[in-house]
């Protein structure tokens, strides 16, 4: 188990190899996740999501630099997990987020890993959470997770991240788009990027109005109202870096709010519960597969195919001893 020890001590080659093991769901990868679990839970996980072309990668490039420099003390260890889609046809992928992260590639305190979705549909890679666990245990205090270009329903990031940044760009739709359920709902910090574009101010006004409506809808007691997180809207231009410092401050403010209001505990509890349920689902499915009589299974399949039984009815028969 030398690899795990080396990775936990910060050896970059070991971290990188371990990330592959975890991503490939190998026996060693599983064992590493078990062993490293106790050392995790230290890192702040920041999600960055938004439509493709809104400037997520360019913004992450700036943000990683800004966040790696605390107000005082030594530079922070920052990891970036950049997710791009796998082809539904070939299973291959072209992972291009590094193109926009040129400034980060050779810094000793920053580690970037590109991941393909490998069939996951929620905007993250199947193993993004596991990868974050490895990086957390390897001593990265801050992990930025960039999702695939996300539209309306790729909201898995809100479950993984403590703070979710939703990046929009001008020209992405009217105020009805902004009122729809989905990605805007998960924002802890909302960004209008490309603030140098002429219609950026209009886009910011539309989103601002949507946030105000949302705030008025909450019928909470005054005490609850005071404790509620007010989603800030930040305008940035990732190309020249303007607004990035404001974004950093907004993220830090949300992290401080989480700590002060028990939000961290709440998020971690929800994640622990999801992880336990997922492990149960995987385990029970494997158990079911192991105990399966191939003859009965084929028969059930034929029955479903011929529409003699619904899938649920066929399963019921299979489960009968």
């Amino acid at each position: 188990m030398e690899l795990i020890e080396k990775a936990a001590a910060g050896d970059r080659l070991a971290i990188s190899r371990l990330l592959s093991e975890v991503e490939n769901d190998s026996e060693q990868g599983k064992k590493a996740l078990d062993e490293l679990y106790a050392r995790g839970g230290q890192a702040a996980i920041i999600g960055v999501t938004g439509p493709s072309g809104s400037g997520k990668s360019t913004l992450v490039n700036r943000l990683a630099l800004a966040l790696s420099c605390p107000e005082s003390g030594a530079p922070r260890q920052v990891a970036v997990i950049a997710v791009d889609p796998s082809s539904p046809f070939s299973g291959g992928a072209l992972l291009g987020d590094r193109v926009r992260m040129r400034d980060l590639g050779v810094l000793p305190n920053i580690f970037i890993r590109s991941m393909a979705t490998r069939g996951a549909l929620g905007g993250l890679a199947c193993a993004a959470e596991s990868a974050a666990q490895v990086l957390d245990a390897a001593g990265f205090g801050l992990i930025l997770v960039e999702t695939v270009g996300a539209g309306q329903s790729e909201v898995d990031i809100a479950r993984l991240a403590h703070t979710t940044v939703v990046v929009e760009a001008p020209g992405q739709g009217d105020d009805i788009q902004a009122a729809k359920a989905g990605i805007l709902e998960i924002a802890d910090v909302l960004v209008v990027n490309k603030s140098d574009k002429p219609d950026a101010a209009a886009a910011a006004r539309t989103l601002e109005a949507m946030l105000e409506i949302g705030a008025q809808m909450v019928h909470a007691s005054q005490a609850e109202e005071n404790a509620r997180w007010q989603v800030p809207l930040v305008s940035t231009c990732a190309l020249d870096g303007s607004g990035v410092e404001d974004l950093k401050q907004a993220i830090m403010a949300h992290q401080a709010w989480l700590r002060a209001h028990g939000g961290l505990e709440e998020k971690n509890r929800a994640r622990a519960e999801d992880a336990l349920k997922l492990a149960a689902r995987e385990h029970l499915f494997k158990e079911w597969q192991r105990g399966l009589d191939p003859g009965k299974y084929r028969q059930a399949l034929e029955n479903v195919l011929a529409r003699r039984l619904s899938p649920r009815q066929a399963l019921e028969r299979l489960l009968k001893p």
């Binding site: 970059r12 080659l13 990188s16 082809s87 992972l95 193109v99 050779v106």
Partner: protein
């Protein structure tokens, strides 16, 4: 689909701005089911070695049309070796005179592909060299 896939870094070291060849190869490898990490133009050998390390790739493809291959390629190999990735497959594409190609192969480059190479050849070469990883 949590299964092992061939991961390849496609990089353009040096100062020439012609990345069509690199993009064609990247796209072909993607369509062959590989995960391709594309770094973009004007990468230093340090950036390439660092990307190869962080991405734990099975192979690195260097596209060079500037004529600087005899200084850039050995530097990339040297840095990768220092990072503990001396065993990783490195191939070169571009306009490389034959005697240079021979010298590069002697340095440990797995293949040198000139203009007009069929992308299927690159794919086949990678697959057979990396048969162990799948």
């Amino acid at each position: 689909m949590p299964e092992k896939r061939i991961r390849v870094l496609i990089a353009k070291p040096g100062l020439d701005g012609h990345d069509r060849g690199a993009k064609v190869v990247a796209r072909a490898l993607r369509d062959a089911g590989m995960e391709v990490i594309y770094t973009g133009l004007r990468q230093t050998p340090e950036m390439i070695a660092s990307a190869a390390l962080q991405e734990d790739v099975d192979a690195v493809g260097l596209s060079i049309l500037s004529g600087a291959h005899m200084s850039l390629v050995p530097r990339v190999l040297e840095l990768m070796k220092a990072n503990g990735q001396g065993g990783t497959l490195v191939f070169v594409g571009g306009i490389i005179p034959q005697e240079d190609a021979r010298a590069l192969l002697q340095m440990g480059i797995s293949a040198v592909y000139g203009p007009g190479t069929a992308t299927t050849r690159v794919i086949d070469d990678l697959r057979s060299a990396l048969v162990a990883v799948g």
